[in-house]
Amino acid sequence: MSWLVHHTRSEEYAAQAEQLFRRQQFSRAAELYRLAAEAETNALNTLDKSKIRTIGITAVSAVSLYSKAQEFALAKRIAHKWLASELLPSFAVDELEDLLQVIRYEQSRAKSGIQFIEGEVLVSVSGGEVLYGAAPLELILRKVEQVKSLFYRTTEFLLEKPHRTRGLPGQDVKDQCDPWLFQAPAGSYQFEVRVRRQKNFEQLILGDIVDTELRVEQITKKFLEIVRATTQDPEGELIEVVPQEDYRETFLKLTRELAPPVSGKSFDQMEIKSTSDFDSQPVVLRPDTRKAIKNVLKKPEIVSPELTQHKIRQLKGTLRGLQLDKDWIEVNIDGKTERIYEAKEIDDVIGPMVDRRVVVEVLERSDRPPDKKYSLHDIQLEEDLI
């Protein structure tokens, strides 16, 4: 039989497997992926050595299909065999090496035995100072923390909890959302986040599962939906996805914090995508994402006739203190401490800025005493704006 006959068979099996996978019939999908992989391997073995491109594409396809079938040993064997053949074009060598990393990682994850909620989120930062597979520790720690904040907020939103204006998420939220960090295959700098499933989930399934647990199963999916809407259509789709204004504003601010700095110096692109959704397009955050979100956040100032002397000023200094219960923050500007009032910022945004250089947009009010003239309009890290 020819390459075409075998490959057509492989395509048919793979199409069926994909449909089953989408319907979450994973074991049946894996069986069909295995049949697709076998057919693709047969197709590969019929090819003439001169058909370099077809060999390369088909080899990648066969290894990918075995990997999707969870037949990791076979996938590795075929990848190594063809890598050793010296018949592969360079693009196929790169793709097979990447696939081998993915397979190794999938194997270790399968061994862990820990169950996770369906879906995982791959976050990658690139450009600026980021190398292939390496990045400044402080930058990555900050991004991981911001992603975690977004996961908690997503969980609170799904659980229909009142919008949290102060403090950390409650233990009940942490019980439902336990984000884990996974090592992802190198490429720019990547990390993967999954949410651990509650230990008693099976009992909940067997028993009379309550709506709450079902909703929590959607955390990863909802997280991606929110970030996508926030970056791509904040004044349309985001309103559909997050109807509550207070939640919406929080998601906008947290996503803005996640975006690369305006200069692109430390990194200039972040991609967030699902690794379990077929054809999932990454959500891409670039330096201009900050400005776009700021424009959405900017509310037109309502200036009453007696307050016409207001003006917006920008202050640069080090954030030294927070008294969010009393709605003020302190910023040290050239050795002088300025207190800024009406600081209705959420802890997730402003907390990580303490003892760091910030750019504060304030409303300077002429109708107040000099020591209380500033009210907070916006605050961002200075490194994100230069």
Binding site: A14, V60, F91, D94, E95, E225, R228
Partner: protein, 182 residues
């Protein structure tokens, strides 16, 4: 001067012309596209088709989705699958290229295109199709195209490639030749 009726985007019966789209797959992709169209429009609608910066108009006609069909899709899945259907139909209309094969890769899959008359015994002379879809405004559509072109040029390319971006809300289909040898 009389206004000529723009050509119809050939979204119906994709499986009859595109070897890589067996009937269930073609139906699945078209249903996703209908869900996306219904989010913003009522049939029929005219879409701008920009093929390597050459503009034309294509008429899009579809049957309205019912609640059951709508409920079967989530936003992301519908956007991606629907964009594939629209992109493949657009390339058929403008370039007479057809989706002949599909290949798995690390995540997702690639469609490979060829002239219908071409011998399909291998992939040596095919074109790879890169698709993306969005419900955002025009600036996002063009940004998406830029990203796709960068991704394709960044060494992930295994064949001369075409990038297609579908803007469902703004009625825009962008096609771009990434590899100059096309």
């Amino acid at each position: 001067m009389t206004d000529s009726i723009p050509p119809l985007l050939p979204l119906h019966n994709l499986s009859k012309r595109h070897h890589a789209l067996p009937a269930p797959v073609a139906e699945y992709l078209f249903q996703a596209a209908r869900v996306c169209f219904d989010r913003h429009h009522v049939s029929p609608k005219e879409f701008t088709l920009e093929d390597d910066k050459v503009e034309s108009i294509a008429r899009v006609e579809w049957e309205r989705t019912d609640d059951r069909e709508k409920g079967a899709w989530d936003n992301d899945d519908a956007t991606e699958a629907g964009a594939c259907a629209v992109a493949i139909a657009a390339i058929e209309l403008t370039r007479s290229l057809f989706a002949i094969r599909r290949m798995s890769k690390g995540s997702g899959a690639d469609y490979y295109l060829a002239l219908r008359s071409q011998d399909l015994e291998d992939l040596e002379n095919c074109f790879r199709l890169e698709v993306s879809g969005t419900h955002s405004d025009k600036s996002e559509v063009t940004k998406r195209l830029r990203i796709k072109i960068e991704q394709t040029r960044r060494g992930d390319s295994n064949l001369p490639a075409l990038a297609a971006i579908v803007g469902f809300k703004v009625q825009l289909i962008l096609l771009h030749t990434v590899d100059e040898s096309l």
